[in-house]
């Protein structure tokens, strides 16, 4: 295998390839950091440029966009509480409070280093463990997808903020929204209220941009928040990550990056689930779980290493099975097909230079991503010094343009507006938006795969408990719900005993 890499390295003895990857990464960072523009759009935009390039150069450029965008999404997430891409939704939970507590540089620094570590681990997984991970991905049938989705939904408990009941309500609203549109098992149109634009379901991206970006804009415009009026006093302090601090989080790094890589490899699961799962996992591993959501470094590290860990994972089914792991990988695969290359196991045998070259290009993209962000961090933090009255209208325009660009129809802009107002009121009444997003991502996955599984096994529900992967997720789900309840019960009991002994 190392010989293959050495052979493929020959493709990199020209400056064009580095230039292309650097350009892609830079564009990705811009796309990722602008709410409304996503990794998928950036890749689609550059795709036609790759037609005239050497395969590895072209794909390398697209991979740069991919890494750059996924990592760049954390910049507005940390600084403005507006995730730049879906996979940085979970990042807002801790990075923004940290920035708000006067440490924006530290928050960004953690994001950047974690993205890089996640990226590196995912390159390693991609390069050396592809066949193993691909086999795991193939073990997922409807039954396992259901169990994974169910486990994902239990995370609502850790991201709902103060009230679990409110979190559940928000999560259920998300699930209901995810069910709008054509049901793929019966072909019936559900919950569209007769609006033809909803036949295809609620477009996830505009809804997400609305829930986070637009609602935040409305909030900023209507609030008299002390921090908002003192942007000029925000010090660009601690702009560089403290090496020791970041190194001490190696457990979170490793576990989150691996969660990212594996979830990324399961087709259709994707980056946002990966970062939520990693966040939940880090909270469970932590000795101080109560600090999560208030600006703890572990929370930031978990999300950001998971979503960049996901990138390499998502490439695995594409490269080894010819099946894209997410929307971005689907376009990358289109790029390969147009070059006349069929991704799949044969690619590694027949065109091993190209296959291994792509892995090297992916590594280079990660290095560029880290370098650009490390250089740019001081500049990014200055975003906070721009008066909100200039910044917010700009972001608003980007949101609307981005939503329109996703589908090319105005209905997406309406969805954006609707969810913006909805998100504003959710927040106002103490509901958090993260459970809504979880519900929207997982609702349809859980529902349709439950029914598909029941069809496959003639309504025999014991199948969920007899398949090992499914059973594992079900046990994890039970623990995820049961443990906090038990802990609360113990706490209450102790308090009672204390009271009794005092009396």
């Amino acid at each position: 295998m190392l010989a293959n890499f050495a052979d493929a390295a020959g493709l990199f003895f020209n400056y064009q390839i580095f230039l292309a990857i650097a350009f892609g990464t830079l564009l990705g960072l811009v796309f990722g950091s602008l709410p409304g523009l996503t990794a998928t759009m950036g890749i689609a935009l550059l795709l036609p440029l790759t037609f005239g390039m050497e395969p590895v150069t072209g794909i390398g450029m697209l991979l740069g966009v991919y890494c750059g965008a996924i990592s760049g999404g954390s910049i507005p997430a940390a600084l403005l509480n507006i995730p730049g891409t879906p996979s940085s939704v979970a990042t807002t939970l801790d990075a923004f409070p940290m920035a708000r507590n006067g440490e924006p540089g530290r928050a960004l620094g953690l994001c950047i280093v974690s993205s890089f570590v996640g990226g590196l681990i995912s390159v390693a997984v991609f390069a050396f463990m592809s066949p193993v991970v691909a086999d795991v991905a193939l073990k997922f049938s409807a039954i396992e997808y259901f169990a994974l989705g169910l486990f994902g939904l239990t995370i609502i408990a850790s991201v709902s903020g103060d009230s679990i009941i409110k979190g559940l309500v928000a999560g259920l609203i998300g699930v209901l929204i995810s069910l709008i549109g054509i049901d793929s098992l019966t072909g019936m149109v559900r919950l569209t209220a007769g609006i033809p634009e909803l036949i295809g379901g609620v477009d996830f991206m505009p809804a997400l941009i609305g829930l986070f970006a637009l609602s935040q804009i409305i909030r900023d415009v209507t609030s008299d928040d002390a921090m908002l009026n003192t942007e000029k006093k925000v010090r660009v302090s601690n702009a560089y990550p403290r090496v020791r601090e970041t190194l001490s989080k190696w457990k979170v790094w490793l576990s989150s990056s691996l969660i990212g890589a594996i979830v990324g490899a399961i087709p259709g699961a994707g980056g946002s689930i990966a970062s939520f799962l990693a966040y939940d996992q880090a909270k469970r591993m932590s000795k101080t779980p109560e600090k999560f959501g208030k600006g703890t470094p572990e929370g930031v590290v978990a999300c950001e290493s998971a979503n960049n860990g996901m990138t390499g994972g998502a490439l695995i089914p594409m490269m080894t099975l010819g099946i894209p792991g997410d929307a971005s990988a689907a376009i990358l695969m289109g790029g390969l097909l147009i070059q006349g290359l069929q991704p799949g196991p044969m690619l590694f045998q027949e065109q091993s230079n190209i296959a291994y070259g792509i892995i090297i290009a992916f590594l280079i993209a990660n290095i560029f991503m880290f370098s650009f962000q490390s250089i740019g961090i001081k500049l990014f933090v200055r975003v906070l010094q721009i008066p909100r009255s200039y910044l917010m209208p700009f972001i608003m325009v980007m949101c609307i343009l981005g939503s329109y660009g996703i589908s090319g129809t105005l209905s997406s802009a309406w969805i954006l507006l609707f969810f913006g107002v909805f998100g504003y009121f959710l927040n106002r009444f103490g509901f958090s938006a993260a459970p809504v997003v979880l519900g929207m991502i997982l609702g349809y996955m859980v529902e349709s795969n439950f029914r598909r599984g029941m069809t496959m096994f003639e309504g025999d529900w014991t199948i969920f408990f007899t398949r090992p992967i499914s059973l594992t997720f079900l046990i994890l789900s039970a623990l995820s719900i049961g443990l906090p309840l038990y802990q609360r019960y113990r706490k209450a009991q102790k308090a009672r005993q204390l009271k009794a002994s005092e009396a």
Partner: protein, 315 residues
């Protein structure tokens, strides 16, 4: 003087409008792709784009409008102005969705500007399964009605209707497992979670190459180039001939001039070497048919078969 100016303006406008008529296209053309970027239709559009732009002399704007299994994008085109500046790349799914009653368009709402390629419907089984030939699979399906898990892309889509047509034609019964898109069906079959599946060859390509899926049958007229050992249904004694297609269509009512321009442009594009290479990787066969009676009849035949079967499925 004033008169002269008016006259010359009138004359100029008359000239330019006359020229516009003679010179379709005079402005960029929007090609609506009702699927996500990177999918089969999208790759086809982007592979066609350079050659089309060369022969039409105008920019082609590829606009992805995904959603509802293609319904949203196709609706947008069917309701667009029939001036030849909005086109799309349909396939059998427009008939299937019409029959299912979900479509907000009718297949008669399109004019066909030329066929580009043909894709075979292929039945494959998981390679670790016991079925070596189509006959063995049919025997098993007939002996155990409703037991074989048979997957396809989505409910009411082209591969669902095509599998239903095949089942009715041969007279077997399976457990139908719809998926959210063809790649999910391929993963399910590769993982051994379903027994058999029907998809278009291009969508199956990765599964077949991995060796985890075994092709048993194609519904096309001739054997597939890539898999010459796989028989067609005709050879196996069946009557049915069913293929999917991709071509270019515009809202119904475009002028003959538009059809002519596209007919020529597509003819040139389909013989372009770069295009041929890109299509070969997709597992499709180039099958250029000029706009006109032959194409229209072919479409009407497919429409009838798919719409009727989909209507039956719905009940």
């Amino acid at each position: 003087m004033k008169k002269a100016i008016t006259a010359s303006v009138l004359l100029a406008s008359a000239l330019t409008s006359g020229m516009a008529l003679a010179e379709y296209p005079t402005k960029p053309i929007t090609m609506v792709i009702p699927y996500n970027a990177g999918g089969g239709t999208d790759v086809l559009a982007r592979a066609l784009q350079p050659a089309l732009e060369k022969s039409l002399g105008q920019t082609i704007i590829v606009n992805n409008i995904p959603g509802g299994g293609g319904i949203l994008g196709f609706t947008k085109v069917a309701t667009a102005k029939a001036d030849g500046y909005t086109v799309t790349i349909p396939n059998n799914v427009i008939f299937a969705t019409e029959g299912m009653g979900n479509a907000t368009y009718k297949s008669t709402g399109f004019d066909y500007l030329g066929n580009v390629l043909t894709e075979d419907y292929v039945v494959a089984v998981r390679a670790d399964g016991p079925w070596q030939t189509w006959d063995e699979l049919v025997e098993d399906m007939k002996a155990n009605p409703g037991k074989i898990k048979f997957g396809f892309s989505g409910y009411g889509g082209s591969t669902h209707v095509a599998s239903a047509i095949l089942a009715r034609n041969i007279g077997y019964e399976v457990k139908q497992i719809p998926h959210d898109g063809s790649s999910k069906a391929v993963v399910a079959a590769m993982g051994g979670h379903i027994d058999a599946l029907m998809l278009n060859l291009g969508d199956l390509a990765s599964g077949l190459e991995s060796g985890k899926l075994r092709p048993l049958l194609s519904l096309g007229e001739k054997r597939m180039e890539e898999y010459p050992d796989v028989p067609t249904l005709k050879e196996e004694g069946g009557e049915l001939l069913l293929t999917n297609w991709r071509g270019v269509a515009a809202p119904a009512g475009v002028s003959d001039e538009v059809k002519e321009a596209w007919g020529e442009a597509l003819k040139a594009a389909t013989s372009d070497p770069a295009f041929v290479k890109a299509i070969a990787a997709q597992g499709a066969t180039i099958d250029y048919v000029a706009p006109g009676e032959e194409l229209d009849q072919r479409m009407q035949g497919l429409a009838k078969e798919f719409i009727e079967t989909a209507q039956e499925l719905k009940q």
